[in-house]
Structures are given as C-alpha cells and as structure tokens.
C-alpha cells in the first residue's frame, strides 16, 4: 500500500469510535431512563457515522477491494488499534459517563485540530465531528457534574469510575510511528502538544463536579500496539459474528 502510514493513522482514529460505539450499543434499552438511552444512542450513532467515513476513506486508500465492513469486522484482535479506554465495560452508568467524558475531551481536541489537516477528507470528517463531539462532551460533562454533585452515593460511584479510568488516559496521547509521520506531514495531529491542555480541561470539570483529581502516576497502555485487555476479545466475538459466520455476503 502506498499510503500505509495514512491508512494506519486513520484506523487508529477510527477504531476508537468503532469500539466505543459498540460499547454504547450494548446499552441501548438498558439505561437509567429514556432520555439517557436516547442521548447515548445518539452518541453511538455519531461515532458509527464517523467510523464509516474513516473506513470508507481507508478502504479507498487501501485500494484492494476491501470495504468498510471488511475493515471493521474482519481484522484479528491484534490489528485493532483503539486505546484501552474505549473497550472497557459498561460496569455501571458512572463508568459509562466517566469513560465517555475522558474520551470526549480528547476527541474534541482531536477533531478541532484535525480541521487544519492538509488532507481534505479528514478536514471534512473533522468539521462534522466537531459539532457532534461538542455535544458528546457537553452531555458527559453535564452528567459528570450531576453525579459528582448529586447524592453521596452518586459522588462515590462517579469518583470510583474516574479513578478507575484515570490510568487509561495517558495512552490517548501516545504516538505510533505512523502517527508521527502523518503528523509531520501536516495531515495528522501531534497529540503530545495537547496533553497538558487535556488534563487542564479535565481537572476543571472534575473540580466543578466537586470530585477529586486522581494522582495515580501509573498508566495502562497497549491498545495502540494492538495489545488489548481481555474485554476486547468478547467485543469482537459479537462485532464479527455475522461477517465471520456468513462470509462474502451482502446484507
């Protein structure tokens, strides 16, 4: 493939949306009320929409007949490059919100910066994405505050969730070799430059939510190298089930 690095870069971005969308899809009909069900489904829909745009573009770059669905559903686990954060389970609503918020802040930074890419297609996706992800971040941030400054129980639950996911945030700013090359070309985003701002933004909202900013210095990573947590395998058994069971069919 000529543009292997660009392909890798796009998949790195897209896989996050795919896997987080998949996690949110599990929740559909099982949320605490209809309003949150609808909102989380909306977020999932946005994420799948972005995923499709990225994979369609990646498929074009690959140029070997692969389709968006082949890319989404026919890779081996080690070839998915999403960060570990997005594959973590929906343990309870606090986890859903914490995971979402910690991702949304990063995601909006990425979308904002990607609008200035030299790649027109990525700019187009990012422009649409900025609007969508701004809404995601508002939703998750608002709920973070509600849960943080709600009842004692909710504060405890959301604090536990934030503490739980904190070690997964550092990986968001890891750059693979392809990421670096594509950033150097002015196409991708150098996320390392946005890291301080990320923690600043997060901290502000956590404070507003009357929550404690974790000081755990240890981090968990591996997703960007395709080394996932044990949750990922189960996500894939479902995600890939139909394509694996009935190969080469039109749906």
């Amino acid at each position: 493939m000529k543009d292997q690095d660009l392909y890798n870069y796009i998949l790195g971005v897209a896989d996050n949306s795919l896997i987080l969308g998949q996690r949110l899809g599990e929740l559909c009909g099982h949320g605490p009320n209809l309003e949150t069900d609808i909102a989380l489904t909306n977020i999932a829909l946005d994420l799948f929409g972005q995923t499709r745009s990225y994979y369609q573009y990646a498929a074009k770059i690959a140029g070997d007949g692969r389709t968006e669905d082949d890319i989404a559903m026919l890779r081996n686990e080690r070839d998915y490059k999403n960060v570990l954060l997005v594959e973590q389970p929906n343990t309870h609503f606090g986890h859903v919100i914490a995971r979402q918020f910690l991702f949304d802040v990063y995601h909006l930074q990425l979308m904002n910066a990607l609008q200035h890419s030299k790649d027109e297609m990525l700019v187009a996706i990012a422009r649409k994405g900025v609007k969508e992800v701004s809404y995601h971040k508002r939703f998750s941030g608002d709920w973070l505050k509600r849960l943080g400054d709600g009842t004692d129980e909710s504060k405890q639950n959301i604090q536990e969730a934030i503490d739980h996911f904190w070690p997964y945030t550092d990986e968001l700013f890891d750059m693979t070799d392809s990421d670096k090359k594509i950033a150097d070309q002015g196409i991708g985003v150098d996320m390392t430059t946005l890291k301080d701002d990320y923690y600043k933004q997060i901290s502000e909202v956590l404070e507003e939510a009357t929550l404690t900013i974790p000081d755990n210095p240890y981090s968990k990573r591996g997703g960007k190298q395709g080394i996932h947590t044990e949750h990922m395998g189960y996500i894939l058994t479902e995600l890939q089930y139909m394509q694996r069971t009935y190969p080469n069919m039109t749906w």
Binding site: G25, H30, L34, I38, F48, G49, R146, I235, W251
Partner: protein, 318 residues
C-alpha cells in the same frame, strides 16, 4: 357536581367527539375516558420501550456498519416514541413513575409480540416488515382519534414507523436476493413471526368486548378482525415479491370477497403469551425492571443536583 350537570357535560363531550373535535388535556372528560386512554396510551408507550429489547439484541451483532447504524437509529426512534407517548399519558394526570410501576408490576400490558425472541439477523428484517407493518395498520386509524395529544403523537409516530417498515422489508429483500442460506434465513423468520404478527390485532371480534366503546371514542376505527384481514391482504403479496412462503396451508385468495382467507390462529398460544408465559415475558420484564433499579441512583443524583442548582439560583437572586 350534580348528576345532572355530569350528564350534561357528558352529552357535550360526546357531541364534540362526534363532530371530530379534539379533546385536550385541560378539557373536561369522563373518568372512564381518562382511564381508558391512560391504559391504552401507556400500553402503547410500554410496547415501544419493551420493543427496543428484541431489536437491541442485534445491535452488537449487526452484519454491516450501515445496518448497525440503521438499527440503532430505529431503536432510538422507539425510545423517542415511548417518550412522546408517556408525555401524552402524563397529560391525563398520571406520573411516569406510576406508569413504570404499572409496567414493572405486571399491571400494565405491552404488545405480546415482543415476548418472542429475535434469534437471527433476519428477525430484524421480519420485525420491521411484519411487526411494524401490523403496528402501522393499528396506528394509522389513531391519527384521527379523539384525544389530541395521542392523535398528534400518532401522526409523528406513523411517519417514522412506515420508514422502519420499509427498512425492514428492504432487509428481507436483500436476504431474499442473497445466497440460498440468506433466503432460508428470511423464510425461517417469516415462519416464526407470521402468526405472532396476526395475533397483534388481538382476540377475535366475538371475544373483544371493549370494541364498541372504543369505536365511539375513535380509539378504534375498525374491528380486530377487519384490521387483521387488512394486514393479511397487504402482506401476502409482499411475501410473494420476496419469493418466500407464508406458513399457512389454508391461506388462499378468495376471488369472491377480494380478500385472502387464512387459517386459524393458535389461540392457546395467544392467551399463554398474554397471560405472561410466552417465550420471553419474564426476560423482558427482568430487563426493564433491572434497568430501572440499576438506574435509581442515577435518577436520584439528577434530582438532588437539580435541587441544589435551584437553591443556588434562589440564593443568588435574593
């Protein structure tokens, strides 16, 4: 109010309905009208949200991203329908909490069709085609029902439902134009969903005592059997186009009546499911009650937060 005054109000009320005027929440209405509407609209709302479950079952396993997104959007629409319908019910003076209590305790019903499992991807097609198809037939009539909020919700819902129905049919069409394995999957789904879909129109007219009153209030425009016949007449030719066979050996076009004659529904099965002993009644209720109970701390937090914010505002203002 004297009995005479009530009678008078009732007469005015019936006259308004007869003139096809809409009854609005603030209007006077007979208690039975209110109760019947609470029952029916909330049953409709419950059906929307329980109906999310069999379809939600395939979101993580949808065979393509396009279908996954469409399915998510559909299930989301159903949540939206639930929301309008609960709101419409609330205008009749009952809270959403109470409505959920009725669902969770088994006091309120929901459409029995959702007590069948969705076991293959083709079921997602069949549910859209048949279940939404049957629902629309029931609902179109309600767009001109007498209670305003219900009628308006129905207009919006019908529009979305017919989109869902076309989408379901298109899933079936894709399967039927696909590999033999895919076509067999479509046939199998039709086999399993056909009879439950016919049951959606309720018992035979002879066993449906409330029909007369509901007709008067325009909560029903046609009888169960009439609607069921309409569904059969509409759906059989669609199955023919798909090239799959309706699982009814007695099904036959009757040139004299211009309708399809069809076989007898298994009413034992119908009543078993209605009474709560269908394949998934217990699972559906456990899913709903479980979601509600797991979410209680979240709803409490949201209320506590809102109260705190309101107090802060008051404190600032004073």
């Amino acid at each position: 109010m004297s009995e005479k005054e009530v009678k008078n109000l009732e007469a005015i009320f019936e006259a308004r309905i007869a003139r096809d005027e809409k009854i609005e929440p603030k209007d006077w209405m007979p208690e039975k009208y209110r109760q019947t509407h609470i029952r029916q609209i909330s049953q409709h709302a419950h059906s929307e949200i329980v109906g999310m479950l069999p379809e939600g079952n395939w979101i993580t396993r949808a065979p393509s991203l396009r279908r996954k997104a469409a399915l998510l959007a559909k299930v989301q629409d159903e949540a939206g329908h639930g929301l309008y319908l609960y709101s419409a019910t609330e205008t009749l003076g009952i809270s959403r909490e109470e409505l959920f209590d009725q669902l969770h305790s088994g006091k309120a019903k929901y459409s029995s069709i959702f007590n069948y499992p969705s076991v293959t991807w083709a079921d997602i097609g069949a549910i859209g085609w048949l279940v939404d198809g049957a629902a629309i037939i029931n609902q179109v009539a309600l767009c001109t029902t007498s209670f305003g909020p219900y009628a308006r919700a129905m207009v919006r819902i019908c529009k979305e439902e017919s989109f869902h129905q076309r989408q379901g049919y298109e899933i079936m069409l894709t399967l039927c134009n696909g590999t033999p394995e895919q076509k067999a999957m479509a046939q199998d789904a039709l086999n399993r969903w056909w009879w439950p879909s016919l049951m959606m129109f309720g018992p035979r007219d002879a066993d449906s005592p409330h029909t007369e009153q509901s007709m008067k209030w325009k909560l029903k425009r046609k009888t169960n059997d009439e609607l069921r016949q309409q569904f059969v007449d509409q759906t059989v030719p669609q199955a023919d186009i798909l090239g799959i066979t309706v699982p009814d050996p007695d099904l036959k076009f009757n040139p004299e009546t211009g309708h399809y004659d069809f076989g007898e529904i298994d009413w034992d099965e119908f009543w078993q499911v209605v009474k709560g002993h269908g394949p998934c009644n217990k699972e559906r209720m456990e899913a709903r009650v479980g979601a509600w109970e797991r979410g209680s701390w979240v709803r409490e937090a949201a209320m506590a937060y809102a109260e705190k914010q309101a107090k802060k505002k008051v404190a600032k203002a004073s």
